[in-house]
Symmetry: C2
Subunit: 306 residues, 2 copies
């Protein structure tokens, strides 16, 4: 009668605050969740939460089930890991690299969490050479590459982690600061600050400016997000960054962020791995853990399909 699926739904609901988003999180439609919960509530003979408020407010019954979920679901995860371990294949190597700047924010918690559960897997993030990383994957120099730029390569599988929105950060005094969103033309007179990587790897260009055939007045680069923020805050330019990289500056009311175009520019972050390693239990677990921690740590991101 009560099933694990219900518990997962409730957790997603609490984390997101709305049926629509919770549905996305568990890869179902909003309608499915509405039915699912309605029917659970009717069997229990009482409501689990109020929908009239944002985020939804849980009743005592709802809270109780959440508690149950928090108890049970982790135990399940542990058991699944133990089973994977019993299946053998618990040894392995996970050398990974990140193609995208400033991913450490969520990668570190993921790696920590993972290390605890798979002591037999040798985890390493060799830093240094910033060459093209994907070939390193086929060469077996690397086992996993975090990238937002999947290119069809034989023997490489891209596991989607999550979707995020590229936002334009501008100073609070900036002329654009009052707008609801910006159009490509708005950037023609601006100084655009970017990471020092190839043009083709910057979504602002590939997905926003290039299609509209617009070029910013000036382009300059900076290594670190903090530096960019300083430049932006002092009005010396604007920059486009993933929404989650901006949250801490937005919270401190340091800069203002605007969607790129009416519908925004969304990209997906992938974990690139070798096809053969795809079914390894600890690899599957790493991907799951990465997704889970991302949602726990980052704001404003959305699930990506499989």
């Amino acid at each position: 009668m009560l099933e694990l699926r219900h518990l997962r739904t409730l957790i997603a609901l609490r984390d997101t605050g709305s049926l629509v988003e919770a549905a996305e999180r568990v890869h179902l439609t909003q309608s499915a969740l509405s039915h699912q919960i309605k029917d659970l509530e009717s069997r229990l003979g009482m409501p689990l939460f109020t929908r009239k408020t944002r985020p939804v407010a849980f009743t005592h019954a709802g809270e109780r089930l959440l508690t149950l979920a928090e108890q049970v679901l982790p135990q399940l995860r542990v058991a699944e890991r133990d089973l994977a371990r019993l299946a053998g294949n618990e040894h392995g190597r996970l050398h990974m690299a990140i193609e995208c700047h400033s991913c450490f924010q969520w990668l570190m918690p993921t790696v920590d969490h993972f290390r605890n559960h798979w002591p037999e897997v040798e985890v390493d993030i060799p830093s240094g050479q910033n060459f093209d990383l994907l070939p390193g994957l086929t060469r077996e120099a690397l086992d996993l590459v975090i990238t937002d730029n999947p290119q069809p390569l034989p023997g490489v599988h891209y596991a989607p982690l999550f979707r995020y929105e590229g936002l334009l950060a501008v100073s609070k005094q900036h002329a654009l600061a009052g707008r609801t969103w910006v159009e490509p033309d708005d950037l023609a007179a601006e100084t655009l600050i970017v990471y020092p990587v190839d043009h083709s790897r910057l979504d602002v260009f590939t997905q926003f400016l290039d299609p509209a055939k617009v070029q910013p007045r000036e382009v300059r680069s900076a290594e670190l997000t903090v530096m960019m923020m300083q430049l932006v805050a002092s009005g010396r330019g604007v920059c486009a960054l993933p929404n989650w990289a901006l949250t801490e500056y937005l919270e401190r009311d340091y800069v203002k962020a605007l969607p790129l175009g009416r519908d925004g520019v969304w990209s997906t972050l992938y974990a690139a791995i070798r096809e053969e390693s795809r079914e390894l239990p600890w690899m599957e677990d790493f991907i799951r853990t990465a997704r889970d921690t991302s949602f726990a740590v980052l704001n404003g991101i959305k699930p990506a399909g499989d």
Copy 2:
């Protein structure tokens, strides 16, 4: 992927030792369980137990899942009880009586267990008057009666608890002791010892001797099971009792027990309650608890349909 149903199945499997019986326990067919488990095993990529042995032997993976089940299922029960409590209706009265002798063996653990979880329900087993108990139910003098003799009464619902087999206890030296089962005629020359209740409430008569129009040479009664056993062991008669009432004497090798007829005589024990009280959360819980503890405490009983 892994669902609660699987955990319940595994528990049933461990408790019973075979797919056939486990299937009965969870109210499914043997085929369903075979499919269910096969499919779980294939998804996990390893077997959970060996079927070639009786009882089945769990693999490490199977053991791990059993551990999970033991962790999770009780938590679920507690949560369900808490929800029922939140639904209100946690107050109530449960005055019960037993029509069948020697039910205390499993009733006591049930009652204890129940008292802990429903402190607000006043539990009582008024002993004494051995009148017809069912009317007391409609009169609201009683709230629950344990009986093996359900009679259609308006407003009374019979919740089946379990099925048990009536066995004939004979002394180890008895002429019948070597037989695989007994026929009605075999009792024509015997002294039959019974509880001092009405003929119509004794299954040996109603289901075994009467249909075959056989009468025992002599019928005498005894109040307590121990007394009966003493008489039987010393060869002064034979007696028919539920299999579970006999197990302790069989284990001590005190007497011998035989099925009544080739297929045995099976009866069902019911909890008779008022229709209105059927949906009360604590009443539902009591029935469930009674079933569960019966299976845990008693040997050789089988589930009864709903």
